[in-house]
Amino acid sequence: MRYSGFRVIKEALTGHTGWRPAWRDAAPRSQYDIVIIGGGGHGLATAHYLAKEFGQARIAVLEKGWIGGGNVGRNTTIIRSNYLLDGNEPFYEFSLKLWEGLEQDLNYNAMVSQRGILNLIHSDGQRDAFTRRGNAMILNGADADMLSVAEIKKRYPFLNTGDARFPIKGGLAQHRGGTVRHDAVAWGYARSADSRGVDIIQNCEVTGFRIEGGVCKGVETTRGYIAASKVGCAVAGNSSRLMSLANMRLPIESHVLQAFVSEGLKPILPGVITFGAGHFYCSQSDKGGLVFGGDIDGYNSYAQRGNLPVVEDVCEGAMAIFPMLGRARLLRMWGGIMDMSMDGSPIIDRTHIEGLYFNGGWCYGGFKATPASGFAFAHLLATDTPHPTATAYRFDRFRTGRMIDEKGMGNQPNLH
């Protein structure tokens, strides 16, 4: 069923009786060519691109709960490609370009809103680093813009530029960055994949891999054994748990990242803004809620909830740059489990087990990567070669010393 304004009007006039489920609630078949484990953004996007771009059929997405219930449904919805390193920037720029065409590709309005992202600068060293990054972005075909304090004040007149402990000295903007309605991404990919014959199987948890002679033959699930020529894992924060079933240890720790939303407010923030001298970033959703966050809690956790010190730290950051937010109210806090990798960058690679592929280590950058991650993983699964923008995301980079460390924090995941 094609969605359109016309269709909405027609249904409105005929009692909305024509709408069909956005995706079938499929039951598992005994065998597939490709099984994707994880019905989150990345898994569903992988299925979509496998079917649409790589002509693959007989694909299943296995989700232990309900699709879109993990990090794609609990993030702060930001998209951007403001990365520094060669291993990253082309990939994230590819992702941003896919975002730009997403709605037409999916026939689903995920509300891609390129309202811009602005990283505030508070020191000369930071300015040097952001200049280097902005240049790297432009050299990779992305957009970047160095803004003066006056230009920033024009967009954010209520920023604290007077009495700030860490004065704002400028900002690096990416005008093509912005936000996307996160749940709609999962649903849009699911609907599109489903319409191309992908089986989306919910409430189907993988309990083991069947590996014979170093070859993965299929997966054991709570709904029975499913044979597959290729198995792709895209389960984010649960990566270590899942891959331990294949006796793999990963360069990943799972950490909780909290996020917050305020009560609905009339528009105040035109774009996404990040504080450079503390842990706070914020945007305003189309509904009017301020969506904001800060640093991870910093300890290994699968609990999907955090603690008060980080809540306070984030709100201190908020008040530092936006002292007019004092009387806005925080409505809800939640936590997602981040697959924090050892260098802060992801892995999209084959494993040492033939037929078993891995996608993970997204840290807290997974949402913006969703389209490119799906595309690159589909490319790998379909062709057994890495997508040109994802060649650096190899498992063996830690062994060989080719880390992709944007922040320069080394092998301590909670610092990335």
Binding site: R241, E253, S254, A303, R399, N414
Partner: protein, 95 residues
Amino acid sequence: MIIDHPLLGPRDSSEFTYMGDAALIDRPDPEAEDAAQAFYEYAYLRDNPAGWHRELWFHEAGDRSWLVVTRNTLTHEISNVELARDVARSRGRSA
């Protein structure tokens, strides 16, 4: 969270800095033949369990002890707190 420091009693976790898996105590022998592989695994691979996890916390705003905290990553429950130095010795580290 509250960490029951073996010397100082219960302290708020915000006094501490977290590092990660207490397996970081088990630094491999740099002279060993497989040192390159052993150090790669030591520095980069983690069990990352959903459940009980022995991990290193540094009492940065306190007595500067490194502690080994046994904590459940699903519930955040803490079952044991030891001085990392004692743990290191018990695992054969000396000088």
